[in-house]
Amino acid sequence: MESLGDTLWDIVICGTGLQQSLLALSLSRTGKKILHIDPNEYYGGPDAAFSLQEAEAWVDRHASISSGVFRSASITKPEGSAGLSFSRAYSLALTPQLIHARSKLLSQLVSSRAYKQVEFLAVGSFFTFKPSTDPEQKPTLARVPSTREDVAFETTLSLKAKRGLMKFLKFVLDFEGETQLAVWQPHANSPFNEFLQQEFKMDAELQKYIITLTLSLDGQMSTRDGLAIIYRHLTSMGFFGPGFAAVYPKWGGISEIAQVACRAGAVGGAVYMLGTGIKSQEISDNDIELQLTSGDKVKTKLLVQADDKTEGTFSISRLTAIVASPLKGLFESVVEGAPLPAVSVTAFPAGALQTEAGESYEYPVYVVAHSSDTGECPAGQSILYLSALTTPHSQDVLKKALESFLESVGDKQIPQRLFELHYEQGRGSVESKASGLIFTLPNVSPSLAFDDAALDPIKTAWGVVMGEDASNTEYMAFPDREHADEEMSDE
């Protein structure tokens, strides 16, 4: 077999995060010579999913790091190792994201035929956390009505509130219409919740419902963004079947898509090397010579890599907990004919939680619960992914949120926590950079729902590789590869 150095590569892709992997998928039928490497021993980069052992190894590398996307990582096991299954029975997503049914990511996976190797599960109900006013009573979760039918059947809202909510949902469905534009454009850049209050007379409770649906971590979004996100949610509802607006890939989310996309790259002839990074590079007029950490020296016409530096101070704190309960109540289908959901989302509205010092935490906290049907934990357990904007108190607030959440969902007993992974995730540049023969993709967005903006730089990079051919090639559209005839039989 020829050695890597004998080939002049059309492109070397470094990193197997979602973006680089989708790029490999997009180029998989072009006949380009592609070398795809990753300094990590696993696929997915910041989108990876880990077994317990892998999570522990990852924490060891990120425990005392103060720069880079991930930092301040630690693991606690409240019960020792009791109750935990074997390491590979778990698949903990580093950056779990739900994917709205209308996301272009899904339509690209369909048109590129890659979707066939991914199992998609429904994201079910959205809840808000309601603290108990009576110390004898436990806190509760209130289901967020997110369609007009939901609102109609909702029993806890006043008639007036229902009418306001109905009016708003109808408004959003046509928010780019002329009459609607006239209403919201004057508020476009002002806070979304003020708009809800002024134009729709929503009280604080209703505003919380709407803000929950946006999954905004700082709760401070503009009216323009807020409307677009609610629109995405509403138009995604029912798109792939009744009762759900978003999906989640089984076995670890985005990580699974990255693996499937890389496999498509390999099937198309790309060469894959994990555990191999770039030691040094030498740029000449027409190519770059890369010294790889494996000892190989390769030449390529283009290098595509991801930005691993963070910009600004924006950061989110995460807490991933394995709990010893199936938490069945979170994963019920509420609409006839709906697939059984494997994911649910609960928001602690801004101000619902307090810091150790007794001050209220001014941002929302989200708990995204995954049932064992996601394949991320064994039956009888669940995974809770908590996230909140980083502040000096956010890790404490997350712990409190976890306790309160478990109190609200537990029946007689509060479910046991078996394993907790804590870390912080920063945000990098949002723009791609092309300089000469090097194309740098932006950093992964730490948002809770996949943002289609992440797809644009991939297409740009694809265009750079394709050059003149880009204009007569359809992006991410391939015929089926499996044409094996099933009629033949071996007997």
Binding site: M1, Y43, R88, S91, L106, L109, V110, Y115, K116, Q117, E119, F120, L121, A122, F240, G241, P242, F244, V247, W251, E256, Q259, V260, C262, R263, A264, A266, V267, G268, G269, V271, Y272, M273, L274, G275, T276, S294, G337, P339, L340, A342, S372, D373, G375, P378, A379, R481, E482, A484, E486, M488, S489, D490, E491
Partner: protein, 232 residues
């Protein structure tokens, strides 16, 4: 529960993964099985995500979904999704190349680490046509030259190892087709009835039957009660 009672000959999908050193003939074995074809000097694998082939047993039909490594084994870069839910594996070595058996043992260990506990593994020594005990060959003018026996791995050695590890064991020739169908039939027979019930899902999980009602079909809205979960 008893979901397939009454059907004349139930059909189940089985994911089978291929493993083994480069150039031992993994793809050739599959091409022989699927298309009854053999290509001399075949290029390293490009172009097939997986191939399917049915295997009819007296009691049931097994539809193999055969996954090729697509070269990702070359630098030990197979993804977890490759092993996921695999119910069978074909670990291939070249019986004219001792190092390829060592590599095969490595892959068996990897399968025991990464794959579902109940996976059926077949160890296959390929290129029997290059040996002097080449049953069923009609190969003339071999590249190796004349009647020379190129065998470097004895049947005994590989067989003993296979028995120790509880693997099925065969020596084959993808070139002549010798023993190829037999490998797949033996695998089909060895797959426990219980692991066929819900086709997918990690061996032990008690969630059998649920996975179909949950799976979201991205390819246009369809009857949600449609039973067939297979993507082909």
């Amino acid at each position: 529960m008893a979901d397939s009672a009454g059907a004349p000959r139930p059909s189940s999908s089985v994911k089978l993964v291929l493993l083994g050193e480069a150039a031992v003939g993994k793809s050739s074995l599959v091409l022989r099985f699927v298309n009854n074809d053999f290509q001399e000097n075949k290029e390293p694998t490009i172009g097939a995500a997986f191939l399917t082939q049915k295997c009819n047993l007296p009691q049931r039909t097994i539809k193999f979904e055969i996954w090729d490594t697509a070269g990702q084994e070359r630098f030990a870069s197979l993804a977890p999704m490759y092993y996921r839910n695999a119910q069978a594996a074909l670990v291939v070595y070249d019986l004219t190349k001792p190092t390829s058996l060592i590599k095969a043992k490595h892959w068996v260990a990897e399968l025991q680490r990464q794959a579902s506990p109940g996976i059926v593994i077949a160890l296959v020594g390929n290129k029997l046509d290059l040996t002097s005990d080449n049953a069923g060959t009609n190969g003339e003018g071999e590249a190796a030259g004349g009647d020379e026996d190129a065998r470097k791995v004895s049947t005994e050695e590989a067989k003993t190892y296979a028995e120790e590890e509880g693997l099925l064991f065969f020596e084959t020739s993808a070139k002549t087709g010798y023993n190829v169908t037999e490998v797949f039939t033996a695998i089909a027979n060895a797959i426990p009835e219980t692991s066929l019930k819900s086709a997918r899902g990690p061996g032990a999980a008690g969630a059998a039957g649920r996975s179909e009602e949950q799976r979201v079909n991205l390819n246009g809205p369809r009857d949600p009660n449609a039973k067939e979960g297979c993507a082909c």
